[in-house]
Symmetry: C2
Subunit: 454 residues, 2 copies
């Protein structure tokens, strides 16, 4: 028979062996636990939405995947109107607009799902067409105070502290402040979006390039230099806020933005996020016009090349395309597939503390089958993850299998052990076996599992 080559689609190719899948799942579980610690509850939305929902905000249609029946649609016009979601924010907006009356506001939800984008995939940079996003948002009905903006960094702090991936820095800015600064520098509203785009990219460019780009927009040399200085000069949060008060005196919008930033910084400190983990940074711009207040980016101190691993901000109205109810909110998103891929490359993935592959009961001698099954039953009843080696194979092959799969312990017993009502527990890391009587099996296995973990 002619074979079909088993291969993956380009960009749909972040697929793991079980060991790596376990590490990925552990990361998801840890993120989920942090979100729940702050009272966020889960939702999931369908992968496919009506096309008019996804394109309501004028999203890039070239990047959206439509779904159609492979062999022609059997008169079904409804599903033919579907496409895969490209983020979790548009589905959230549709969800809240649909379920406005059933939800408790402020609505705090987390959502960990795959999204699809027809971008140019670069596996080596962790960029995929199908990838996981982990989002949280706090949505108010009618209004939402500044404290929500201050609590978000404490969630980010918890998430990345929990991951133990080294020092990170949550960088804050405020869109009103940024807009006010451009007003002060007499940058017209027409070119402001492009100026923001240049400022957003400044950290990846040389100073000369950024200054030249700003000048090319028509800004005087002195203005371009001043803007560049603001973006790249780093100082402590309090010094930065202090320095900015100069501009607040000169522009009303900047004054308002600065006041918000000041309030948010004070509250972040109440939430006990240490100053070493966050700071006001005017280099944070966020491309989208969508954001209207505090904006966030998060970078790993030892791995700036990873870029922002968690970004988001405050917005004025989540679902204006779907409902007249004003729904201001604040949220962040972690691009998990990319983060995982880059963590792996940077050697930041830790071995699992606890693997589900705990004990392999080997089956050396078929005549004791009932006893082997009994051992497995007993351990499972005690809640110990246990696999029974079901095939006839020599012991060496069974132990090889156990090591390849990452089992912690192997149980070994044959004629001589069973004659003594005993069994050997072999630690597969140290290769040291101990013999225990059957009456002490569960107790001894639990002790051996704990021991290996410390």
């Amino acid at each position: 028979m002619e074979k079909v080559r088993p291969a993956l689609l380009k960009g749909f190719d972040q697929e793991f062996l079980p060991g790596e899948q376990l590490q990925f799942n552990a990361l998801v579980d840890s993120i989920r636990a942090s979100f729940e610690l702050f009272g966020f509850l889960p939702i999931e939305t369908p992968s496919a939405e009506r096309r008019e929902i996804l394109t309501s905000k004028g999203a890039m249609e070239k990047e959206i995947y439509a779904i159609t029946r492979l062999a022609g649609d059997p008169g079904d016009t409804d599903a033919a109107r579907g496409a895969l979601h490209f983020d979790l924010t548009v589905p959230l907006a549709r969800y809240v607009a649909m379920r406005e009356h059933a939800l408790a506001f402020p609505f705090r939800r987390y959502q960990i799902q795959r999204v699809w984008r027809g971008e140019n995939p670069q596996a080596n940079k962790g960029r995929f067409r199908e990838f996981y996003q982990c989002d949280i948002d706090i949505i108010g009905k009618g209004e939402l105070g500044y404290l929500a903006e201050a609590e978000i960094p404490s969630v980010i702090y918890m998430v990345f502290s929990g991951m133990q991936i080294g020092d990170f820095r949550i960088r804050l800015n405020n869109r009103k402040l940024l807009k006010g600064l451009l007003q002060h520098f007499k940058v017209s509203e027409e070119i402001a979006p492009e100026a923001f785009r240049i400022m957003d990219k400044a950290e990846k460019e040389t100073h000369e390039k950024t200054r030249a780009d700003l000048q090319a927009l028509g800004l005087p040399e002195a203005t371009a230099a001043q803007i560049l200085k603001l973006i790249v000069e780093k100082s402590s949060t309090d010094e930065t806020l202090d320095k900015l008060s100069f501009y607040a005196d000169k522009n009303e919008l900047a004054a308002q933005g600065l006041k918000e930033l000041d309030q948010v910084v004070k509250a972040i400190r109440l939430f006990e996020v240490p100053d070493s983990a966050f700071g006001v940074d005017l280099g944070v711009v966020r491309g989208l016009d969508y954001y209207t207040g505090t904006i966030y980016e998060t970078t790993l101190v030892a791995h700036p090349e990873l870029g922002s691993i968690c970004s988001g901000g405050r917005y004025d109205d989540l679902a204006s395309y779907f409902t007249n109810t004003r729904l201001p909110g604040v949220g962040i998103s972690i691009g998990l597939s990319r983060l995982f891929s880059r963590m792996k490359d940077a050697g930041l993935l830790k071995p699992l503390e606890k693997t589900p592959a705990e004990v392999l009961v080997t089956t050396m001698d078929a005549k004791y089958l009932a006893r082997y099954i009994g051992l497995a039953n007993e351990l499972r009843r005690a809640g110990v993850n246990t696999e029974l080696y079901l095939e006839g194979a020599r012991l060496g092959k069974q132990l090889e299998y156990a090591s390849k799969k990452g089992f912690r312990l192997a149980l070994i017993a044959g004629e001589s052990e069973f004659a003594k009502d005993a069994v050997q527990i072999k630690n597969l890391r140290t290769q040291i076996p101990i013999e225990v009587t059957l009456g002490r099996l569960v107790e001894a296995v639990r002790a051996a599992l704990l021991e290996g973990r410390t």
Copy 2:
């Protein structure tokens, strides 16, 4: 601004409010834990595969969703070759064929993911176009013994015992036995598939209809009656095996099937699955020719109308379309979206034992903001899921929010409590408040959470 109506696509509409999502997630977690208890490890495969992979087995193309860019494909021929997987078996076959040398065999994996099928959706019957499947398989390289077939029911037993959804029955049969029986009854190989289809549906039809359908196939009246009798007459496992030995004497394939069934039944008992929870049932047929040995269906005793909630079987070769390596296996699948939907309708969903919404710290008086945040920090540090009410609102509204979201406890404190260095802990089920000093906060909250749970 004209609004886009927030609505879902037909069949892509199993979407929950957070409370229900938590119940769904709890079910997934419990299934996952049962799978891991037996040494199955997780994998996930991309949602989209190359089209030639999905259609390799001659799957129904009308039911497969292809993906294409919404606004024309920018010269990207690769992604245009993708379609969404319609089950988890074909992706598993591709996965194992691709990674044959990296995997440890027997390869035991579980996989809990969404799949997509362009079927006629019926939400009231729990049939969706996008739905979750939970699969386990044990794949051998070259060979796989009968013990794997015997262990599967013990996994099923663990899964559904863990769900606490009432009595269930794992029903077994063997495809070789079924084929042998049809040979014995002189049913030709040409019409055997159709005869199996009729036998498979027999439990949902009247006896007259089944007999008439079999006769319409060309079977003599007496043969049709004998087959019907075998399918519908229920007796204990041992009686059934006994009764079948009559046919085993007359047909070699039936004899082999019966021998397998007998072996498997004996081992299932060693795995301590009680006879009340499983039994040989000749009414189990499974449509697919794919299966070659033991086959399984599982039904809820009090809810036969739900049909089989977990099905599968033994097959000879998983990935013959992709590799020359022979990969025999055995597996089962739980259609989770359907099961959840039907459990909900049947009132089988239990309230959550543990909700992530544990404590709401109310904020009665803005001047104590720092203290409220401090309380939340302290509880979170202790691992208690805690939300801080961030908006300015009267206490009544805050408590209403807490009830709507399902919080267990509310912390209440104002001038008089703080003057005493105390806080009120209100149990939101009983509405009874207790006052505790701040030094005992964590301890008291933990006790109150435990109390509500028993």
